[in-house]
Symmetry: D2
Subunit: 348 residues, 4 copies
């Protein structure tokens, strides 16, 4: 049996604790330490119930532990890039939540350091590991759908976030659509050359006051001419709506919502079945486990991660382009996808 | 029992004969005459088997029959507007296949004459009468979905048309998407203010040679800010894909494809069910009957038709705007929906 | 074009009129006359709207018309056998509603006469022509499911019949389950050797007062050892529940209920879709047309009918055996299916 | 936080190890010891990877550990009753796999001892905790389906067991259908008064040589007159088929199979979706966890278990009655359900 990967987690909020619990269940990992600047009673009780010993207040201390092989960065977004650099310098492999940063320069800098230090960096686009979406990817790769022509992604949240969250989120495109941008690139296996956004403020005027949208349809054009259309909304009263369709020259495949049971009830007034699973913790429960299992394999075998820093950066570029398109009302060309330049489309 | 509406059909190709057979089954109609410039043996045999007497070569003769109350115009598109005028002048109520014309001026002129003469004019957007789409409309009108926010329409043909057809079709937007433009307006009950088209040539280079596209995603913005996205393709190998979704503030409703049976077969290798019904004759079989039943009601009760000349014209305007957007790569504003002016969007 | 089959209908109640309307739509038939002992104003209005001329009060007059090739027998059950004999003697081909009679002797006698006179006799087990059930039959015949091992048939009515109907119906097994007995034989292509019934009175005590059941589970054992289980109920509040499953050594196939639309509505409180189509007129609409189209083919080509007098008789025997099993609480062996003897099982 | 329940497992075969892994994940349990008579290298490796210390060869040693509160009995069926007695005498709460024994006397004796000693005894009918079946139970209990009238249970295995397994299994009714007998009682909340079995040998002659069946339809009549029909087969080529339907006076509810993904693939040749989850480990994965969580609650709060020794015994009685019915070809009355007498039906 190989030695488990010794892990430290920086940031013990909701997502940090989720990863902690998943890490504890997997024999390929040994969760050793947690670092969290805000030590609350709740955190201490949680750590004790998991048998975790001391908690560092400063992530630097955690990084100095030579036994730790890998670090999970689960802090607020604005310090992701900083901790990537620090962890890379300490020669730790890195699993970082998305996005890497809200700034193209910071992201580039973080990626550069990780590359220099030769550590693995996986970005937490967990949906790549959802069993249904992974099946879509396999169908595309196996050529069973022929050349992909149209990809359709629906992503709607069950309830809108708070105003405070909206203000610090980087906007809907960077916070929410970014998952769909990654899904589009993942399924297509090629780069986007143009983005057109049609955003709206239909759910709550609060989003407008924050300079954000709550509803949007985003059209992506790929190098091959294939087209992806994403529709987002911050509020779907019936629950978390997560569907993907890939239409290709040899066929089409759809991934529908997941539901808690298969029960259908027929009465004198209606025929009903379950609503979609509530939110991302329930719907992507399996994906959260599988993404860190994939990380374990990559670290153990020194293989490429399933979602790289470059993937994270490309999704951020698309989010930024979508925002520009929304602001200008015009399609935005990604003139040189490799260099990451974003240019407003020239009128003909 | 009321007297049946006496009908003449001008144009006895596939769609003319379809309407003839449906008219014969309905007690509210009496099909009296057919006019068709191209009299073939096949046509004569068909007419005989239906017990139809003489066939006029010139529609004018049919229009001179004072017993005829209503005329179905089923000629090629380029003479629709002409026959609308002629029939209106002869004081016949009119059912005309879509589109009215490929020219905004011609359509306006035809509508003006019909209005002057006070005859009813129904345009053949049959999908409004599809039981599933009609249910969506009822849900919207009853407010069960709240304010509509996003409408999604998928329309893919099972096989591409011939080059000859493509060249005379007016292009995919005018020939195929026009149904979806009408569906979008029908479901939303309001007008479009902006159109953005992302077209592609992915099915067959023939479309490109004809100056047309075979694949497209079209985004419509409505007055209220609601967004509609249409995805079209001239070829779906698995059959005629016709789905609609309306997402609103209080819920969402989807209309799925129709299949010939409900059978599901599970074997050692797969779990399969039927493909969608082959093409529009099968899928919209009920709608073709129901649209003329609705026309009968409108004529009998002198009530508004379910799809007016104005509706036909608005769909044509959207098709033209979609074509312009495709050509320029820019969103196109419908600056004054009522007057029908189409203006290219100004860059900010 | 072949000459149409000239038809007379004896019995112009609900089912007679249904067949009349379907016959009128089909070029292979010419409906000439109707005979109905009870001439009401409603009947006269109906006949006039269909352009039917004189109505005979006595079926004998109709049978004397030499132009008539075929007769549809749609009278109450107790005169079916009589009219089969009369029509056969008049050398008319016969389409007869089910059951042929409530008496084994009468049925045998009617079949004997039809055979002597060499006329075709089709029994109206319309469900054989339902598109989904026909698909099941094709799958079985093509061997795609291997050897059938278990057949499951669910048949529940949306609402119970009146007491008057129950008293004259011959009981649930003869009136309702008889369709399922025929379906079981049709799908299996072999004969039943034993019947066990578990009946109950759970819907309305009226059924019990009439000496009938309203709920039952019936187990049929076939010659091959394969088993069929039928579950019936006179009242399903959610509508007409008609499902069939064939499970075989190489796979399983299910036919689900039919619904008016494909619409699914998701709201904050539920996810709903349509209830099953209301009752047999809606659900078996297509089957009613297709069974007479099949009859037309059989008459025109002088080929075996899709559901013979023998098939009708076998279903009646199963109904009688099911009733005996219910009365005795014991399985009933059909000791010699060919001779139609029914014997109570001997205790071991 | 309450102290965890300290657990020992007697029997470390497949099901014992499954429970072990689930126990380790749950904070309410502390798995301390394993007893297994057959200590293999494979077992030692498994135990080491789970950090389990010494393994007892004799369960008695495990029972002498005063720290242990509860014992999981996962040995072969023929020693279940023995270990229940031993564990009860040692004042341990007991979770025992089904069936308790193949002998009515042994089961009664085991239950008596558990009752005398005042320990909790839960029988491992895990399907009660399946999320979909539990939903059915909730619907029944909440009265949303009215009075249950017909329950239908389909249970088919993906592949037949070995001859050795069949010979020691107690027969299909005791080994496989027993789960469905428990499900029927669980959903109905009342007792069965009559059992009729129609068994067959259609999958493999081996079953017949072993004196067993491989296919069966079993009809249960409940005290209220409601009817349950179970259909079983030892081999379904398309996978593990586990469906339940409850039909009542106010509605019907169905629980369908579970599948690994929601993906549907449409190509030129077919429309396919996933087969059912492979077998019980996958399908009832959640139920295996939830049943021991329920056991933890019962032990902690000293509340009734979700599936008692009495429930286990009643299912065994039904299995025995089903076997007698199969052997005699006659329905078997459970003349006094409370006393467990089984009597052959008297011919009328």
């Amino acid at each position: 049996m190989v030695n488990p990967i010794v892990v430290g987690i920086i940031g013990a909020g909701r997502i940090g604790r989720l990863h902690a619990d998943n890490l504890r269940l997997m024999p390929s990992f040994k969760l050793k330490s947690i670092a969290e600047a805000m030590v609350t009673e709740d955190l201490l009780a949680w750590a004790e119930s998991r048998g975790l010993g001391s908690i560092f207040v400063d992530g630097e201390e955690l990084l100095q532990d030579p036994e730790i092989n890998a670090v999970f960065i689960c802090t607020p977004t604005d310090s992701h890039a900083y901790w990537i650099e620090r962890a890379a310098r300490a020669k730790k492999h890195i699993f970082c939540e998305k996005p890497i940063s809200l700034s193209s320069e910071q992201t580039s800098q973080a990626l550069r350091v990780a590359e220099e230090e030769g550590v693995l960096l996986q970005v937490g686009f967990n949906r790549r590991m959802d069993p249904s979406f992974r099946r879509l990817k396999q169908l595309v790769e196996a050529g069973e759908l022929g050349s992909p022509q149209v990809v359709k992604i629906t992503s709607r949240d069950p309830q809108p976030p708070s105003e405070a969250y909206v203000l610090s989120s980087g906007g809907m495109f960077m916070d929410m659509t970014i998952h769909d941008f990654d899904m589009a690139r993942y399924l297509m296996g090629e780069e986007v050359v143009e983005v057109y956004t049609r955003g709206a403020n239909l759910v709550d005027p609060m989003f407008g006051r924050c300079g954000d949208v709550d509803t949007a349809v985003i059209t992506l054009t790929f190098e091959s001419g294939a087209i992806c259309v994403i529709d987002n909304c911050r509020k779907a009263v019936y629950g978390y709506d997560q569907r993907v369709e890939v239409f290709g020259s040899l066929g089409s495949a759809t991934a529908d919502n997941c539901r808690a049971t298969t029960v259908e009830v027929s009465t004198a007034s209606s025929v009903t079945r379950d609503q979609p699973l509530h939110f991302f913790l329930e719907r992507y429960n399996q994906a959260f486990t599988d993404e860190i299992a994939a990380f374990a394999r990559s670290v153990s075998l020194n293989e490429p991660v399933i979602c790289s820093g470059h993937d994270g950066q490309q999704a951020e570029r698309l989010a930024e382009a979508a925002r520009q398109s929304h602001l200008t009302g015009l399609p935005v060309k990604l003139s040189n996808a490799a260099s990451g330049e974003v240019a407003a489309a020239q009128a003909l």
